[in-house]
Symmetry: C2
Subunit: 346 residues, 2 copies
Amino acid sequence: MQEICKAVQDWFPMSDKIFVSAEEVARKAGVSRSAVSRAFTSGASIAPETRRKVMEAAEALGYHVNHLARGLMRNESGIVCLVVSDMGTPYRSALIKALTQQLQNAGKVAMIVNTDRSDERVDMALRQAIRYRADASIVLSGMPDKSLVDLCVRNGQRLVLINRDDEHQGPLRINLDEDDTAQAVVTAFLRAGCRRLAFANSEAGTPSLMAREVGFLAAAREQGLDVTVERFGPTAYESGKVLAQRLMTRRERPDAVFCVTDLVALGFMDAARHQFSLSIPQDLCVVGFDDIPQASWNSYDLTTFAQPIEEIAVAAVAWLMNEDVGPSQSLRLNAPFVWRRSVRSA
Amino acid sequence: MQEICKAVQDWFPMSDKIFVSAEEVARKAGVSRSAVSRAFTSGASIAPETRRKVMEAAEALGYHVNHLARGLMRNESGIVCLVVSDMGTPYRSALIKALTQQLQNAGKVAMIVNTDRSDERVDMALRQAIRYRADASIVLSGMPDKSLVDLCVRNGQRLVLINRDDEHQGPLRINLDEDDTAQAVVTAFLRAGCRRLAFANSEAGTPSLMAREVGFLAAAREQGLDVTVERFGPTAYESGKVLAQRLMTRRERPDAVFCVTDLVALGFMDAARHQFSLSIPQDLCVVGFDDIPQASWNSYDLTTFAQPIEEIAVAAVAWLMNEDVGPSQSLRLNAPFVWRRSVRSA
DNA sequence: TGACACGTTGCACACGCTTGCATTACTGCG
DNA sequence: CGCAGTAATGCAAGCGTGTGCAACGTGTCA
């Protein structure tokens, strides 16, 4: 039922955006317009008394500096563009939260562009960033076209690529150092007495996800073990369920599975338990990646690797606030192993 | 380990933001600056051939309309400000996703301000919106000061308040019609044979959450039943666990609980199962609210009410895109009952 | 008293764009 | 051929701000 009740109260006929300008504040305060400008510019040369008068008048009139005009003059909008897809996902939303928080602390404001399922839209997003003369763009998903990256840089825009570990030379690339993770998982599985390893991947095929698969295969082979690989669908909970159905109906049923992501792992666990009546970790050991909040919930208690979300956000913002920044840089953070009960302990 | 490798490659010394302007495009295309402007303004009077020439030159030079300047002239920035807290939460992130999506479809762009845990910051957020001359603000959390709301409206800014069902007269208020939900829950519990009802609330005390509690108590009393109420902490998973500990250790242990939110419900279920070894729904029936993705996961299968996220987003954006809009309006959507297995069926 | 330094202040230009208005080119019609 | 009507175009004003530059007032010192 959609009931619409209009409350006709104190209303004025949308007098089309009459903002109060510095001009009016100046008149009210009895100073020049530049004095008003200076009053709102930290570090400007202005007498304390004058500033007080200006602030007073501004408050009374409800004046707010027009950041569009300021950005136009200063060539610095204060806007940072976040390019992201799948923002309903726990990991992504947590990262967005951390980034916006850090940006606000630094006096910037986040403009967010949703690029669900289409690399072409990443280019649209960067164009949007250019149009608003964003001071920087932070790309969390998709891989922008090389030419566009160049364009952004040429326009003096800072660029941060998070977990886009392609060979792109975006000025700052933040990636995870996953050299040791595969090793750690294999070791954990071996200690738990597991021998039939599996890797559950999505079909997304992004470089970071594929690298995780390749690394795991290599680490297992080093121990003389084969790995059954299965790939299906998007990187989501439901895919985990399908992957479990496929892997758990094999003749040689795996007794340990490394899931490319926590979401996949949780779906996998649910299917293993409720459709195949398996006990975890008795019958099956599971490891995920990301350490989303749900991984620590009692029903799952998933062993996983923790994304250094806060570190990522801090590093990204710190870098783009830094005045004198060099050429293309690459930052590698590591994701600590979080040991929980989805893997048998020795 | 944080290894920084500098790749000194094609780099030019940050020549401080040399954007290409319409002037240059005009020169290259052999037309006037106004022609360039018109080429990028849909519906402007310009010859197709001229537009083609302009577009060609623009593409070649990498020109992008400066939306700061355009916004300054048109008094319409194209920016919509989302004021939100707890954006790491499943419900909130889903709503943000839907809203940004709708805004983009409408040709707007979302600027997002995080206001975690502080109503005062909501005012800061609205001020930010004013500074950037946002066309509208959508408030998902916190309650802005009345004077600020007035200020926004006076400045010609559209305002949408979602689930802020206080008496605030923001031009558009979108709320849930929860008149029937409490009734439905009580009926479901009674049919399941439950008699000792409980309500698990957080201490957030926002109007919508409190209304849910009050409604449930009233509906239960109508059936001659008392309800045990417990409140604790923020509206989160962990609070659900604590609430379960408190409620399940009472002498008269409840056999049915309505949780103020899915997150609380999931925490409640986990504690009930893993700490009190209760079976759901045999020993305890649980109902939540929101229908976050996790509610449908096999481990929970939670009966709940589905937030009409898409409807909310569509309604909000449609309203703020509408040219001639009347005075303060109120929209009430309903949240359909989603029947799953956390409540015994008759 | 004059020279000088210094902290304030106002003027005026610039930022990149939109748009009303006047001008021009073009078409069709009497 | 002339005239009106229309579409396209250029000119220039203006949006609200920052800031270099010059002017001003004040106080200090010679």
